[in-house]
Symmetry: C2
């Protein structure tokens, strides 16, 4: 077996607000790391937790631990060490997983002609962020559903494992579809074409019967889907001959997947409308230092 390792750091004011529900934060801090394991198809084993806290608040810590351990237990992932110190709130988790030697899903395996897929839904976390920051208004049921995706993302651990031997490449979506798929294209030396209408369909279309698509214009929805960030879904590629195997993997994992485009030999990432015309996009991926 091979060991897979991933580290992620969450910082107050950047990855979450000061008034975040600590239980949700405990969930998310581990979820974003499990999402990295999912992207390579590894099975979670254990994690370490390093925590900087402005003060020792027992109630906050207890809630944080509840959220953290509920997700850890659900994945059989054991806390094996860590560090606690005083400082501006900062959570750094390093997670360990295992997978059969040589079977890791990599960013470098996409080939011209492959299909491009994403799991679950995209853009909901950004939709929630826009609403919480007062830039858009959402009906309460849609806000609740979108906020759940922002604060309690679901790492696609089972899907990643099912895709071993099926997908040709994979990555998890933390900074937005354009940027993260861009990493795959760069590592694989290929380009891609994404169908706009397929991308639009990725945003939550059915929360308590309310479709985001009925509330917002297409540009806003595309922005959320393509560069919203914080999705923690998988983007992956697979040969067209593997479509049945991809569907079987998705079914086995209990996670919906959607085919949104194709890998092409020409470098670059193009989003095209129904007539095949390339869209001029005024945005790119989330940049931590923008």
């Amino acid at each position: 077996m091979q060991l897979a390792v991933s580290s992620d750091m969450l910082v107050e004011g950047h990855h979450f607000f000061a008034d975040v529900d600590p239980q949700a934060l405990g969930h998310k801090a581990l979820a974003v790391n499990l999402s990295d394991l999912a992207a390579c198809g590894a099975e979670p084993l254990a994690f370490t937790l390093a925590l900087a806290l402005p003060n020792a608040d027992d109630a906050w810590l207890a809630a944080f631990a509840r959220g953290l351990f509920a997700l850890a237990d659900a994945h059989g992932c054991e806390l094996v060490g860590g560090d606690t110190t005083r400082g501006p709130l900062n959570i750094c988790i390093t997670v360990f997983g295992e997978l059969p030697t040589g079977q890791a899903l990599l960013r470098s395996g996409a080939r011209a002609g492959d299909d491009l897929y994403v799991s679950g839904t995209l853009g909901d976390a950004r939709l929630a962020l826009e609403a919480l920051q007062g830039r858009v208004a959402l009906p309460p049921p849609l806000l609740a559903a979108a906020r759940q995706r922002l604060e309690r993302p679901t790492p696609r651990v089972a899907l990643g494992q099912q895709l071993r031997g099926v997908a040709s490449s994979a990555i998890d979506l933390s900074d937005g579809l354009l940027g993260d798929v861009g990493h795959v294209l760069h590592a694989s030396g290929v380009g891609a074409r994404i169908q706009m209408e397929n991308a639009i369909e990725c945003i939550a279309t059915n929360s308590y019967g309310i479709s985001a698509g009925s509330l917002f214009d297409q540009d806003f929805l595309l922005h959320c889907v393509l560069s919203g960030g914080d999705d923690y879904e998988l983007a992956f590629t697979a040969p067209a001959a593997a479509r049945a195997a991809v569907a079987a993997a998705a079914l086995q994992a209990g996670t919906a997947v959607r085919r949104i485009g194709q890998i092409e030999a020409a470098p670059g990432l193009r989003v095209v409308d129904a007539a095949g015309r390339e869209l001029a996009l005024a945005f790119s991926s989330f940049d931590h230092f923008a």
Copy 2:
């Protein structure tokens, strides 16, 4: 082989000052983690680095990387992943090492009658801190030597490996001798007695011919040695029958060790003078939330 894992988080204003030399900080961030591997006798393999930075300062990062990789290369320890984000300066390293299954040095193996040892020197880092914060005056050569110990601690990696099969327990000294040895005593269900004069001898006694002992009173030196923190030396125990083996391990590792006390059945940690009288200490270990 068994995998040994350790995570440490360093926070500006708490573990280092804002104006710290970034090259020294890169060294120290990895050194404190390698020190944890040393304490269990593991051989370093690899590490992950998660870094929160207030801004993207290329010169700062280049210097930080120089210090980090110089130490990593010296120990054959490879950077295998990580994360970078914006936020108050925070460095979280998780380090991986390996050792033969069942041979890890543990905190729980100390037995009544064992000798208690420490490696290298203790209290120098605290001496430097006191001087840098203007509470004591040090001749420049002594300050330079002490500051080197504060900013560029030497993880006792080789010694830890040599002590496998020799020491009965071990710990690395990050928060101060009293507190860290206290962890060993608690885990082992024993107590200890430390000879004051042996402890005093642990502080740098020969920097450019200047002895700290000639400049400060005994209480101050004891405070630095027993609860100064930031030493990154090893404290370990071994049966009296293993004295020759301990000496051989120290020689092989090129690291001086000093016998400073004994493990006793009675719980608690006692520091005694030459007449065997227990000292009343007005301080204990470093507390991150004090």
